[in-house]
C-alpha cells in the first residue's frame, strides 16, 4: 500500500532530522523523505499539517495477558490499544499462563499478532523455567523462536548466583536480560511506598531501598560478568543515581521508566485509590524530580508503560486485596509530551526515548525513517484534547488513575508497515 504523508514536522533522531517534510511510503517501506514530494498514482495522502511525523513508537514493557488471562486483555485488544496510543511495536512480558518459556507459546503469540493484531508484537521470554526462580529457561530456543529479550518481570530473580549465571549465559546467546529489580524481603506485605502517606493511611509501606538494593546488585553482576542488563520500571532517586554512576564507569546498563513515575506521587493513593496501586509503587516528589532529571541527562534511556491490565473485580476491592498494575498504552503519549511542554526533554529526545532507544537496545531494526526502513510511522497531533473514559479506552481493562481527566496529545494516525491501523480519536 502506498502512502504520502504530507506537510508534517518530521522528527527522526536516527538521521538528526527535524523539519517540515513529506514522507513517501511504497510497498510497506519508506522510500523517500523530502520537501514537496509528488504522490505516485494510487497513493493515499495523509495530511500531517500541524502534526509530528516520527518513527513508529515502541513500548518495550507491556503485559498482553494472552495466553491464559484473556479476561483482562488479549493480543487483539492490547494491540488495538497500542495502535490507539500511537505504538507500532510492543514487547510483551512473559508472565502469561502458560508463561513464555518455550517455543510453542512464542509462536502462538507471534502468529496471532500477525494475523489479527494491530501492531508488531515482540515477545520477551522468561529468564527462569516457569518463572520459578530456580533454573534457567532455554534462552537459545527462546531467541531462535523470536524472543527479543528475557525477563522474569513481575518477579525478581532472587538468587544472586542464578542471576549472575543468567547474565553470563544470555550474553553468550546474545539476548538482553531485562531485570525486575526488587528485594522481596524488604517488600513483605507492603502495598504502597513507605512514607508519610502510608503512615497516615495506616498501610504497610515498601521502602525505596527495596528497589535500590536490587538495582545495585544487578548492575554489579552485569559489571562483573561484562554482560549488558536493562533495568525495568525505574522509580526511585536511588536507582537513578546508581545507574548514572554505573554508566559513568562504563557498565553496560540501560533502563526504562514509566509515565506514572514522572507524573504522579504516592499522594494519588489517598482515598485508598486502587487505580494508583502498582509495583514498584508511586513514590514521593523527590523521586519524581530525580526521574525527570534522569530522563533529561540521558541516565534513563526509554519510556515504557508497564501496561498492566486488570479486571474490575480485581481492582474494585479493598486496597490491600487489589492487584498491582495500571494500564498505560493509551495515555503514555500525552503524558510524555508533557515532558516536552515542561522543558524536561526536547521533542527529539522524547522520540529517542520512545522509539530509537528501545529499538537499538533490543535490536528490533525499527525507530528510523531512513529510506528503506519498514514503514512503521506515528503521526502525532500534539494539541488533540481528549478525555480518558472507559468508553474512550480501547483496552479491555480500565484500571487507569487518569480516568475522567483531559489529556493533551494523541496519535492522529498510526501506520504499521505502510498500512494505517489507527486513524485518530
Amino acid at each position: 500500500m502506498n502512502l504520502l504523508i504530507k506537510g508534517g514536522r518530521v522528527i527522526d533522531p536516527s538521521q538528526n532530522l527535524d523539519d517540515t517534510l513529506d514522507v513517501l511510503v511504497e510497498n510497506g517501506r519508506v522510500t523517500q523523505v523530502g520537501k514537496q514530494l509528488a504522490a505516485p498514482a494510487g497513493a493515499e495522502t495523509v495530511d500531517a499539517t500541524g502534526k509530528y511525523v516520527v518513527p513508529g513508537l515502541i513500548d518495550m514493557h507491556v503485559h498482553l495477558r494472552d495466553p491464559g488471562l484473556e479476561y483482562k486483555e488479549d493480543i487483539i485488544s492490547g494491540t488495538r490499544a497500542a495502535a490507539a496510543g500511537g505504538f507500532t511495536s510492543v514487547c510483551c512480558m512473559p508472565n502469561t499462563k502458560p508463561c513464555i518459556d518455550n517455543k510453542a507459546v512464542v509462536s502462538y503469540i507471534i502468529n496471532k499478532a500477525k494475523a489479527e493484531g494491530c501492531c508488531n508484537v515482540f515477545p520477551v521470554g522468561t529468564i527462569t523455567y516457569g518463572m520459578s526462580g530456580d533454573r534457567m529457561a532455554e534462552m537459545g530456543e527462546l531467541k531462535e523462536s523470536g524472543c527479543v529479550a528475557v525477563s522474569d518481570d513481575g518477579k525478581p530473580v532472587c538468587n544472586s548466583e542464578l542471576m549472575m549465571r543468567s547474565l553470563q549465559y544470555a550474553k553468550g546467546i546474545g539476548i538482553m536480560v531485562i531485570s525486575h529489580a526488587e528485594e522481596l524481603s524488604l517488600v513483605g506485605q507492603g502495598t504502597m511506598n513507605e512514607g508519610f502517606t502510608s503512615t497516615e493511611l495506616g498501610l504497610k509501606g515498601i521502602p525505596r531501598v527495596a528497589e535500590d538494593i536490587a538495582t545495585a546488585r544487578d548492575i554489579m553482576l552485569a559489571e562483573y560478568t561484562g554482560s549488558p542488563v536493562h533495568i525495568a520500571h525505574v522509580s526511585t532517586q536511588g536507582s537513578v543515581r546508581i545507574i548514572r554512576d554505573a554508566k559513568a564507569r562504563g557498565v553496560k546498563v540501560t533502563c526504562e521508566t514509566a509515565p506514572h513515575y514522572f507524573t504522579l506521587t504516592d499522594d494519588a493513593v489517598r482515598g485508598y485509590n486502587t487505580n494508583a496501586k502498582m509495583n514498584p509503587p508511586l513514590r514521593e516528589a523527590a523521586d519524581v524530580a530525580a526521574i525527570q532529571e534522569g530522563l533529561r541527562d540521558g541516565t534513563i534511556d526509554c519510556i515504557a508503560t508497564d501496561h498492566a491490565p486488570h479486571h474490575q473485580d480485581e481492582k474494585d476491592v479493598e486496597f490491600a486485596e487489589a492487584m498491582n498494575g495500571i494500564i498505560g498504552l493509551e495515555t503514555s503519549l500525552p503524558l510524555s509530551l508533557g515532558l516536552v511542554a515542561s522543558g524536561v526533554l526536547t521533542l527529539q529526545q522524547l522520540i529517542e526515548k520512545m522509539a530509537c532507544n528501545p529499538s537499538n537496545i533490543l535490536n528490533l531494526g525499527r525507530g528510523s525513517l531512513k529510506a528503506g526502513s519498514v514503514a512503521d510511522i506515528t503521526v502525532i497531533d500534539p494539541d488533540k484534547s481528549w478525555v480518558v473514559t472507559e468508553a474512550s479506552l480501547a483496552s479491555k481493562s480500565k484500571n487507569s488513575p487518569w480516568l475522567g481527566q483531559t489529556m493533551k496529545g494523541a496519535a492522529a494516525c498510526t501506520i504499521l508497515g505502510g498500512k494505517i491501523v489507527f486513524n485518530g480519536r
Partner: protein, 311 residues
C-alpha cells in the same frame, strides 16, 4: 450550636475539633444511663445495627452491642471467617447481602485499612462506624481515651500525652494522635525505631522521642500500647525481654511522669512486657475507667450518625 453532619464515623482524621468535642460531650451526658436501674432509652428504637467483625474482638464488639441495646436498637453480630484458606465472600458481596437486611448502621472491624470507605461507597443509605481497620484508625478507642483524660484533667488542651510502643502497627495510636492534636494536646511518641512510622511527626503536634525517658518526662498521660506479636513476626525486635527493659513501664520509670499522671492501655495487656503488674493494678491506672467510658462513647457515636435525613 455544634452539629454532626457525617453519615459515617471512619476516622478522627476526617472530623473537626468541634465535631469531636460534640461526640465527647454527648458521651459525658449519656453516662448516667449506664449507672441507673433501667439502662435504656428509646432513642434508636426500631433501628437495626449490624456488628460486622472480621477480626476477633470480645471487648469492642460487646461494648458496641451494649451501646446499641441501651439505645433500644436491634443489634446483630456477624463474624465472617477470614482465613484465606477458606476464601469466602468478598467484602463487596457481603455488603450487597447486608443491604437486603436494611441496616441503619454497620459497625465493622476489618484487617484492611480503608475498607470502611470502600463499604460506605457501596451502602449510601447506611451509616458505617469503624471499629478498627488495619493500622489506620480505631476512632471509638481514641474518643474513649480522650474522654478518660478529660474526666481526670477537665480539659485536653495543653496536656502532654506520651504514647509508647509499636506505633507503626497501631490504629489506636493514630486515632489518639489525630484526636488529641486537634484538641490541643501535645503528643510524644517513643518506641523501637523499627516500630516508628516515617513522617509520623507531621500528623500534628507530635514529637518523636529517642528514648522512653524523654517521652514520659513530666507527662500528664502515659499510654502504653500492646506489643502485637501477631502483627510483627520476628524481625522488629529481638524479644519481649529486651523490649520491656527499654520500653516497659515499671514503678521506677513511672515516677518520671507528673505525680498525678494517668496511665492508660487500650488492652489487652501483656503483663510484664508493656507494664509491670504493680503499675497495672496501681493507683495511677485508669484502665477500668477507659472500659466504662467505652460504652458511653459508642452510644454517642451511634446516636449522632443516626441524626436526621441521610443525604
Amino acid at each position: 450550636m455544634a452539629e454532626f453532619k457525617h453519615k459515617d464515623i471512619i476516622a478522627l482524621r476526617d472530623l473537626t475539633k468541634e465535631e469531636i468535642e460534640l461526640l465527647l460531650s454527648t458521651a459525658e451526658n449519656m453516662r448516667e444511663i449506664n449507672s441507673r436501674d433501667i439502662k435504656k432509652v428509646p432513642t434508636l428504637r426500631g433501628r437495626t445495627i449490624i456488628n460486622l467483625f472480621y477480626e476477633a474482638s470480645t471487648r469492642t464488639r460487646t461494648s458496641f452491642e451494649i451501646a446499641g441495646k441501651r439505645l433500644s436498637a436491634d443489634t446483630v453480630n456477624i463474624s465472617p471467617s477470614t482465613s484465606s484458606a477458606t476464601k469466602g465472600e468478598t467484602l463487596s458481596d457481603t455488603a450487597l447481602n447486608l443491604l437486603a437486611m436494611k441496616p441503619d448502621i454497620i459497625v465493622m472491624r476489618h484487617a484492611v485499612s480503608g475498607s470502611h470507605y470502600f463499604l460506605s461507597k457501596r451502602l449510601p443509605n447506611c451509616s458505617i462506624i469503624n471499629a478498627g481497620d488495619g493500622a489506620h484508625e480505631h476512632p471509638s478507642q481514641g474518643l474513649l481515651d480522650m474522654l478518660t483524660m478529660k474526666d481526670k484533667f477537665g480539659r485536653l488542651d495543653g496536656l502532654k500525652v506520651a504514647i509508647v510502643g509499636d506505633i507503626t502497627h497501631s490504629r489506636v495510636a493514630r486515632s489518639n494522635i489525630q484526636g488529641l492534636t486537634k484538641l490541643g494536646s501535645s503528643v510524644f511518641l517513643a518506641g523501637p525505631p523499627t516500630m516508628m512510622p516515617p513522617g509520623v511527626e507531621k500528623l500534628g503536634n507530635v514529637t518523636v522521642c529517642g528514648t522512653m525517658k524523654e517521652a514520659i518526662q513530666d507527662a500528664d498521660v502515659v499510654m502504653m500500647l500492646r506489643i502485637q506479636q501477631e502483627r510483627q513476626g520476628k524481625t522488629l525486635m529481638p524479644n519481649t525481654r529486651e523490649y520491656s527493659r527499654y520500653f516497659g513501664l515499671n514503678p521506677e520509670n513511672v515516677k518520671l511522669a507528673k505525680p498525678d499522671a494517668m496511665v492508660m492501655h487500650p488492652g489487652p495487656i501483656n503483663r510484664g512486657v508493656e507494664m509491670s503488674s504493680y503499675v497495672v493494678d496501681g493507683d495511677q491506672s485508669h484502665i477500668l475507667r477507659q472500659v466504662e467510658n467505652g460504652v458511653a462513647v459508642r452510644m454517642s457515636m451511634l446516636y449522632h450518625v443516626c441524626g436526621g435525613e441521610l443525604e
